[in-house]
């Protein structure tokens, strides 16, 4: 029983997992009440999704919501009567719920009542409005490739306002998404995002897969976070099968996760510098990142560490010589990044651009429930490695990086601090790596149940919920941290100029593919 105030949740059961999870079923009346209670004690909405369980004992759709309360995850579900196909919206309690609910309608056809925005979110024109891909009776016929011309963006309030539509294709080598600006002169009055361009139907693809195929798919939802996704997926599977993952494997998983964090932060620091005109930063950081990726190929077998983390352990081991080399190169990298940090901190031209730009105040960040790099840069002190440390982080004292200004400079500062912390963690992991196996095959006979995975990826928290039946995946819902963070970008750019948008966007560097599924 997590908290005496949550009297509504007395029927919830605690899972026997290291990660504290309570789950239970609510009915219509308590659905918004539970959310309000959790909000009142400072909790966050982690994910919201649905299932078609009409042919099971539930005899209806199930809407799920996972929250974070002060003592752990609260995973709620509620039956939705198929005849009504509606449930109360949580968007007034948690703003992030709005897009999740719009998506749930696009995919499952159940409507959140009590909101004023019922526009589609992920569906453009690929499937008809009266069909729903996550329903068991989805025919997959009448699919289309027409462009979506019917989406109504929020109207400009005056004819003097200039509207600039940008995307889905952008000028650089980057994922597709649409940004609809309303500007007066150069100043941004409103930014409205529209995503869904990289929607690949991942949740439906998961249905029926075996564990190995699921792992292969999970690692390719958001390629730059493949380790975080693979580990989160593996956690969920291992919970269901009650697997004992060898200790050495857990430590190697953390090593891979920290190297993924390093690679992305190095890339971002260079790209942010470049977007402010400091090409020197891009060249220097690209060189450091490339060396890291080549090391990954040589010692781990894949530049970006795809398919290294598997349910049951990891794919390959490290020799003593390899660990020693990585220790040495880690020291070299630390010195190089230290030099660059000094140069960038004192570069007047760069500071001019990044300080006081793209601000999300700590107060607003708390209202939006931000976490991850962008959240920590706005004073939101959430880091799963610190607060809900799974093995081996419970034996490593991770130091959280935070800043309070919430501007582009703060998001750079947090990345720099995390680079040094990840290098320190790498050094400690390599030094204390326990002996033993790196893989223990899972017992998948008659596997049945639900599992949750939750990993601090480099952007933020990667959440997985999984239901398995007879050793196969029945339903899988991955939740990228970008769901929570994309709405923050819309606010961060307000009153800044259009020309600064690429720089602000880059300072967040959120996932389109991880979001669109």
């Amino acid at each position: 029983m997590p908290n005496p105030a949550l009297r509504l949740l007395t029927d919830f059961k605690r899972w026997g997992t290291p990660l504290p999870v309570w789950s239970g079923r609510l009915d219509n009346e308590y659905w918004p009440l539970a959310a309000q209670n959790i909000r009142a004690q400072g909790g966050r909405l982690l994910a919201l999704w649905g299932e078609d369980r009409r042919t099971t004992e539930a005899a209806g759709y199930l809407v799920h919501a996972a929250f974070l309360s002060e003592t752990g995850i609260i995973s709620t579900e509620m039956i939705v009567d198929p005849a009504i196909a509606a449930y109360p919206s949580l968007a007034t309690v948690f703003p992030g719920a709005l897009r999740m609910e719009r998506t749930l309608y696009d995919l499952l056809g159940i409507r959140a009542t009590g909101t004023n925005d019922s526009r589609p979110w992920l569906r453009h024109a690929a499937w008809p409005a009266d069909q729903f891909p996550l329903r068991t009776d989805f025919s997959g016929e009448d699919l289309d490739i027409a462009a979506d011309r019917d989406y109504t963006f929020l109207p400009a309030s005056s004819p003097d306002i200039h509207e600039i539509p940008v995307g889905p294709i952008h000028a650089g080598i980057i994922e597709p998404g649409h940004f609809h600006f309303q500007v007066l002169g150069e100043e941004i009055l409103r930014l409205e995002e529209r995503f869904g361009y990289t929607h690949k139907g991942v949740e439906r693809l998961f249905q029926g897969l075996d564990v190995a195929a699921g792992a292969h798919l999970a690692g390719r939802i958001s390629g730059d976070s493949t380790v975080a996704y693979a580990w989160s997926y593996a956690q969920a599977v291992e919970q269901i099968t009650n697997a004992q993952v060898p200790e050495r494997a857990q430590w190697l998983r953390a090593l891979c996760l920290e190297r993924e964090r390093l690679a992305n932060h190095l890339g971002d620091l260079g790209a942010i510098g470049n977007d402010a005109g400091l090409a020197f930063a891009l060249t220097q950081f690209q060189a450091l990142k490339e060396d890291l990726l080549r090391e990954n190929q040589h010692y781990f077998g894949h530049r970006h560490l795809m398919d290294r983390v598997l349910p049951g352990g990891v794919d390959s081991d490290l020799t003593v010589a390899a660990a020693a080399t990585l220790q040495r190169t880690g020291q070299t990298l630390k010195t190089a990044v230290g030099r660059l940090q000094e140069i960038l901190a004192e570069h007047g031209g760069l500071r001019d651009r990044v300080v006081q730009l793209g601000i999300i105040s700590p107060k607003r960040a708390a209202q939006l429930g931000l976490m991850g790099v962008a959240g920590r840069a706005s004073g939101q002190a959430w880091d799963l490695r610190v607060q809900f440390p799974n093995s081996p982080y419970d034996q490593l004292q991770v130091r959280m990086a935070t800043a309070a200004e919430g501007d582009v400079a703060a998001r750079m500062t947090v990345r720099f601090q995390e680079v040094f912390e990840s290098l320190r963690l790498q050094e400690e992991i390599l030094r204390r790596l326990p002996c033993g196996n790196v893989y223990q095959p899972l017992d998948l006979r008659d596997t049945l149940g639900e599992g949750i995975g939750w990993v601090e990826g480099w952007r933020g928290e990667v959440f997985f919920w999984l239901r398995m039946e007879q050793g196969h995946i029945c339903r899988c819902h991955p939740q990228d941290p970008s769901w929570t963070l994309w709405p923050a970008l819309e606010e961060a750019v307000l009153r800044d100029i259009v020309a600064d948008f690429p720089l602000i966007n880059k300072s967040f560097n959120l996932s389109y593919s991880g979001h669109d599924l």
């Binding site: 690929a126 597709p176 990289t198 929607h199 390719r220 890339g267 020197f280 060189a287 530049r303 970006h304």
Partner: protein, 165 residues
């Protein structure tokens, strides 16, 4: 400024020089593409892995511009269209518009397993299953993701060069 110069000199040249190449007499590429390609990239639903490798081409280890190649912001300035991802239904129209905006002669390269055949997303209701379902493809570069060396070799091939070794 002094520290920037010192850091740049300390970095020096990294990686191998671009591979030695010679003109491939059997190539049907236009002579105008020789050592000169404008490349427009479109992400048609990839997981972003291929984009990481494409971006790496601009880094000092590969130095794409040494080969005479560069990425352009507009398809109107491009000779080659590189496409990643299984081509989601939601990207078909934009991808076709982009291709139509390119002046002739133009080539299309499918980058990565997803662009070649749909990859791990094959069979999904939301994807076409590869660039060839939407555009005429001149070259496929498989991989998940293909590393920058493979990308560079593919671009050299499209420009009419053959690696000499």
């Amino acid at each position: 400024m002094y520290r920037i110069l010192r850091a740049a000199l300390r970095l020096g040249r990294v990686g191998k020089t671009p591979p030695r190449t010679r003109r491939d007499p059997s190539s049907a590429s236009p002579t105008g593409f020789h050592h000169s390609l404008g490349i427009r990239h479109v992400d048609a639903g990839s997981c972003n892995g291929c984009e990481l490798e494409l971006n790496a081409l601009n880094g000092p280890h590969y130095g794409l511009e040494q080969a005479g190649f560069r990425f352009t912001a507009s398809p109107r300035h491009a000779d080659v269209l590189t496409v990643s991802g299984p081509v989601t239904r939601h990207m078909v129209a934009a991808l076709q518009d982009c291709h139509n905006a390119m002046p002739e002669p133009r080539k299309v390269i499918a980058v990565g397993d997803c662009a070649c055949c749909g990859g791990v997303f094959q069979g999904s209701y939301a994807v076409m299953g590869g660039v060839a379902k939407v555009l005429p493809v001149d070259l496929q570069i498989p991989g998940c993701p293909p590393d920058p060396d493979a990308l560079l070799r593919g671009l050299l091939q499209v420009s009419g060069e053959r690696i000499e070794n």
